[in-house]
Symmetry: C2
Subunit: 323 residues, 2 copies
């Protein structure tokens, strides 16, 4: 299938998510967009490569979903409202069936978050998907990495380690001597975590004005919490055995491997956020899930709010860790 036929296919399918602020969408040299007055733009760009970010046999629809999900997760971590995206696809061939499947997954998530696909390109090359997302956030309301303070409580929005567990099972199935049928060795619930991550967009928006810092967990909570600590000039103590999500992993993993998957496994795309721990907050925390005053009101409400570890002042001079 030639590039222009692919682009026509994308344009036709993408028309299902219209937005009034898209002045000109797919089909010209650039998209024309009208930002809302007074708002700031949050812009993130992430790439997924075959064999690196997803197993080679992953369904096209799952690749499409995930390519957008990991980007929306970045907007969620900023507390931004998603609006527009562009897509650049490198394909070894122009298989229309693959393309239709890819768009099914990509556009299903786009519609769920009212995101318009407004441009991009298709090129020949090894399978690779780059997405740029644009969202809106009011000035001063974005959730940044550098706002955490010593004494804050640290929260995560859901189970950790599931995606890494699926990858671990996939790697074992790929080991020499293993035959076909390895796909079935991956626990479907874990595979769902790897293939169809749910970006915590509503939670992120609900956290603006409430959280002091936020990051999405793409590199593992140990690394990502470390990024927040480095940007904020603080430290944190992590109780790995208290991380949520062990139940889903226990049938397959235990001991140090289970701990490693939970602490260092990427691809969960949950949010890790800090909240100030004043006198009122302290009381609220005593109720277990953040209490009435501070509980996020997004659609991710039930998954959120597990306080598991707490910041303390770093032994090194805080100033040395300012960005």
């Amino acid at each position: 299938m030639a590039e222009f036929s692919l682009i026509d296919l994308i344009r036709t399918r993408a028309a299902t998510q219209a937005r009034d602020d898209v002045v000109l969408g797919i089909g010209d040299d650039a998209a024309l967009l009208q930002p809302p007055p007074g708002m700031q733009l949050a812009v993130a760009m992430d790439t997924l490569n075959a064999g690196v970010h997803f197993p080679a046999g992953t369904a096209a629809a799952d690749i499409g979903w995930k390519a957008l999900a990991v980007n929306l997760s970045d907007l969620a971590a900023m507390g931004a409202e998603p609006a527009w995206c562009t897509l650049s696809l490198s394909l070894p061939d122009g298989d229309p069936d693959w393309m239709i499947g890819f768009l099914d997954g990509f556009l299903a998530l786009a519609r769920a978050h009212r995101v318009a696909l407004v441009g991009g390109d298709t090129t020949r090359g090894p399978l690779s998907v780059s997405v740029t997302v644009h969202g809106f956030v009011a000035p001063g309301r974005a959730l940044r990495r550098d706002g955490a303070r010593a004494g804050d409580t640290v929260w995560v929005s859901g189970a950790l380690g599931g995606a890494a567990g699926a990858l671990e099972q996939w790697r074992r199935g790929m080991a020499p001597g293993q035959g076909p049928g390895r796909e079935t060795r991956i626990d479907p619930a874990l595979r769902q975590r790897l293939d169809r991550p749910l970006p915590r967009v509503a939670l992120g928006r609900a956290l603006t004005g409430t959280a002091t810092a936020c990051i999405d967990i793409s590199d593992g909570v140990l690394a990502d919490l470390g990024h927040v600590c480095a940007a904020s000039g603080i430290g944190a103590r992590l109780d790995v055995d208290a991380l949520p999500g062990r139940e889903a992993l226990r049938p397959h993993f235990d001991g140090d491997l289970l701990r490693t998957l939970q602490a260092t496994g990427g691809d969960d795309y949950e949010l890790c956020f800090h909240r100030a721990c004043g006198p009122g907050r302290r009381r609220a925390r005593g109720r277990g899930r953040g209490g009435r005053g501070g509980h996020p009101r997004g659609r991710d409400r039930r998954g959120a709010g597990r306080a598991r570890f707490r910041c303390r002042r770093r032994a090194l001079a805080a100033g040395a860790h300012r960005p």
Copy 2:
């Protein structure tokens, strides 16, 4: 070199082009940007893959330059003022020398156009560069593909076929039986056209309010003029022997190959634009280069303004070709 060291390197180098409208640049989950009040955003995204869009041995600095240039060319074709970009790099390894070279080329062009690099990512994978650019244009002033009218004159901003000539020489050098030293077989002037295209940003901005339609020549003037005609519901007659830029090609090519290179060769990144041909315009055109009234005032002035062919009404019903 680990991903985070690469990102630190990029962040440090990118800091050389600061802009007041960048609230938060590289280093968080997303960049935060403040669009100017009342303006529309023009957004384009293009990917370059090794061995597809540039020869495998291309210098890192040239790849960096070109990755941004092809995107700025899209903004030029819309008449937009460039402002911000994001960069996603897939690299087989994290060679810091390659990275420094790449950034040299990329950021030299970014500085020339006051473009701030505000985010993106680096991943492991076959060499591939995706860039998203953002620019500003006043409502109703963008140069679109669908505004050309029957009777307009068609213009190109400079020489055509040079980049395709370099690629042709490169392909010959790569033929079986050819040894090392093939790089020197490529005419340096043609190679410059391939490796360091100059996006016609100033010309594009000068054309807003003057041109009726515009496109950048990335797929060859025949195909790109065809895109404008299809979007505008008109036709055009192209005199291939009158295309500018033959002189640079004549030492190496002639006959049908020369014509093919000029008409179908991509990668020149000149602008092809339409201008209305009213009574005043007709007089101006008689003076050869567009006359006083309509001559673009950008820095690309000398390269622009060669009227070579003219639109005529398509034999088919015009309405059938409306997008």
